[in-house]
């Protein structure tokens, strides 16, 4: 016998305002719950892997049904193999059932009256005129014809009920705020003592996340000061976690870089919750043992790199760790941008190129004085110049520029990269070879 792959909770006529509360309640029975986006009282649950906790499937669905009754709701709970056929069975037959096989599910679903399946009054009426009143007779229609005669929505419903379209279960994300507050006995600005207080609150927060089967993707630390504006710090671990040590280390790094203008009298921790995804653990230290291997001598632990980058962000700010993106622009200061990163890719450098002398470029070019004959003046003086290389944009647009670039060699051997701004008739130092 095949194990069931999906469970459907069907509560016809569920008020929309109770939908979120019921979804939360169902989370106690499965970590993956998808409220149907179109039908307010329909929820799909992933029942896999829960036998160890709840026992046989029949026991599990009875407990789910019991939870509905405790909420004062009447509904059906059906465990089956495919989402929409199982829902058709739940809607048509009701009750608490575990379907024996996909074939049984299909056969029972075909008997379901279309009037119960929320197809929409227009489609229902059109099908009724043709004498099509059950799901089976609807599914017997060629899908191409359904599309032509009744439109895209009818085609999509046909595919869903016929199992031609089996979208993956999209578990809803917990959006409830999980907030813990801690008042300090005496206002304090000493980082170690603040961390100690934060640690206690953090354990409470993580326990609550654990109770809900959730993890944390970021942590908002609020510091209410004795006087002045409160501070808010965001900590983002390398990946979702419930590890207090990781979060405390990030908090320590962040607090060390923050200047507290007044003692803290109250702390608040707010978690941005997310699903706790399983991760593959590394069994062996896979560092290469061949000292002569010319490539891949270091096996990067991506988690270690990501943790390190998270520490850097905590220390120096969220945009402190970046990679360079090349932009399609002529001006050197616009030819690249910095993009924040959380991971570093495996390198794929070009091979075989001759070495290249690189330039240092000042993000803000430095103004240079001119000699009476209009040449740039530096100390030591310039002895030779190569250029000009003109970069010019549209003449009448906003931000238009016209620059003549030169490489200038000074008497001490420096090679400067400078330009003359033709609009302002001034020299600027853009950078130098280094």
């Amino acid at each position: 016998m095949k194990p069931p792959r999906v469970a459907v909770v069907d509560v016809p006529g569920l008020p929309p305002e109770r939908r979120a509360a019921l979804a939360h309640r169902l989370l106690a029975f499965s970590p993956r719950v998808e409220p149907d986006p179109e039908r307010a009282g329909v929820f799909f649950l992933d029942p896999s892997g829960l036998e160890g906790i709840f026992g046989r499937p029949s026991k599990w669905i009875r407990r789910v049904h019991g939870a509905l009754r405790e909420e004062g709701l009447e509904g059906a709970v059906v465990m089956g193999f495919s989402r929409f056929p199982a829902w058709a069975v739940a809607r048509a037959r009701g009750g608490v059932r575990v379907l024996a096989s996909p074939e049984d599910e299909r056969a029972e679903a075909r008997e379901a009256p279309l009037s119960l399946l929320e197809l929409g009054p227009e489609l229902e009426r059109a099908l009724h005129k043709l004498g099509i009143d059950t799901l089976g007779s609807f599914l017997d229609l060629p899908r191409g014809e359904v599309s032509t005669r009744f439109g895209a929505r009818a085609k999509s419903l046909h595919a869903l009920f016929a199992e031609a379209l089996t979208p993956p279960l999209e578990a809803f994300a917990e959006d409830a705020r999980i907030l813990v507050e801690a008042e300090l006995e005496f206002p304090d600005a000493q980082v170690d003592r603040l961390l100690f207080c934060l640690k206690g609150a953090l354990h409470t927060l993580l326990a609550e996340l654990g109770r809900r089967g959730l993890s944390l993707s970021s942590l908002l630390v609020g510091l209410e000061l004795e006087w002045g504006e409160p501070l808010a710090l965001t900590l983002e671990p390398a990946h979702e976690t419930r590890d207090a040590r990781v979060l405390l280390e990030l908090a320590r790094l962040r607090l060390a870089s923050v200047e507290l203008r007044a003692p803290v009298q109250k702390l608040s921790l707010e978690a941005k919750p997310c699903r706790l995804e399983g991760r593959q653990l590394t069994l062996f230290d896979t560092r290469a043992v061949d000292p002569l291997a010319p490539r891949f001598t270091r096996t990067v632990d991506p988690d270690a790199a990501a943790r390190g980058l998270a520490r850097l962000r905590a220390s120096f700010g969220e945009d402190a760790v970046t990679r360079a993106i090349l932009e399609d622009a002529w001006l050197p200061e616009h030819a690249f941008a910095w993009e924040p990163i959380t991971h570093v890719a495996r390198p794929k450098p070009r091979e075989g190129d001759a070495p290249f002398l690189v330039r240092r470029i000042h993000p803000k070019p430095k103004s240079l004085p001119s000699t009476p004959d209009g040449r740039p003046r530096t100390d030591p003086p310039i002895v030779a110049m190569a250029g000009p290389y003109r970069f010019q944009s549209g003449l009448h647009r906003e931000g238009a520029y016209a620059r003549d670039y030169f490489y200038a060699e000074r008497t001490d051997g420096s090679l400067l990269f400078l330009y003359r701004d033709l609009h302002h008739e001034r020299w600027f130092l853009q950078g130098a070879l280094d």
């Binding site: 000292p291 002569l292 490539r295 990679r323 390198p347 993000p363």
Partner: protein, 206 residues
């Protein structure tokens, strides 16, 4: 009867395979200082070549500079570096040299980087040598290179824990082509770094 003799034989190297510890001659597991004492120095270009060699060995690399630093990624790309595998850390100016050293430590501590370059040309380095000690021990522990770019025209080294201190100088050989020669100022690692062949320069440089 002859006294026993110590016979020295050259290391056998499999053709086509370069010992990873000595690629471009800059040793791993060491602190390397690049002095830019002269106006015709090629400090940043040398650091980029060390990072490129690390990338060719399969390692990710990182560059640490003060926010608003002078790194110019288009030239790094022209040099052959894979910019996606180069983490660039921007340290707030108020953190100074201490912040740069701290960032270098955090990067080396991960063990995920083959080389970390700290651009200390425009900032005052931290006092004392404790920071150098930490960088040196992390570089040793993780078999990585800690590359320090020294302040322009600095006469002295950052400290005794620097294993290799070089002063790269550029010399024009023909229009658009240069050579970079390394003057070894300190060598505790027994390394013999050198560059062979001509270097390209950005378009327009004579």
């Amino acid at each position: 009867m002859h006294a026993p003799r110590l016979i020295r034989s050259p290391l056998s190297i499999v053709p086509g395979r370069v010992p990873a510890r000595e690629s471009v001659g800059f040793p791993r597991a060491r602190v390397i200082e690049i002095a830019s004492a002269e106006a015709d120095a090629a400090g940043m270009s040398t650091a980029v070549q060390i990072l490129l060699a690390c990338q060719r060995e399969g390692d990710s690399v990182a560059w640490v500079q003060p926010r608003g630093g002078t790194l110019y990624p288009p030239d790094l790309h022209a040099a052959g570096l894979d910019l996606d595998a180069l983490a660039v850390v921007h340290v707030p100016p108020e953190a100074g040299g201490v912040g740069l050293a701290k960032a270098g430590e955090l990067l080396l501590r991960t063990g995920a980087f083959g080389a970390v370059a700290l651009d200390l040309t425009e900032v005052r380095p931290p006092r004392g040598e404790a920071w150098l000690g930490r960088l040196a021990s992390l570089a040793r522990e993780h078999d990585a290179r800690a590359v320090l770019l020294g302040p322009a025209r600095a006469a002295a080294s950052f400290g005794a824990l620097v294993s290799l201190r070089v002063s790269p100088r550029r010399r024009r050989t023909r229009p658009g082509r240069h050579r970079v020669e390394l003057e070894i100022l300190k060598n505790k690692a027994g390394a013999s770094p050198h560059f062979e062949g001509e270097w390209r320069a950005p378009e327009g440089v004579r």
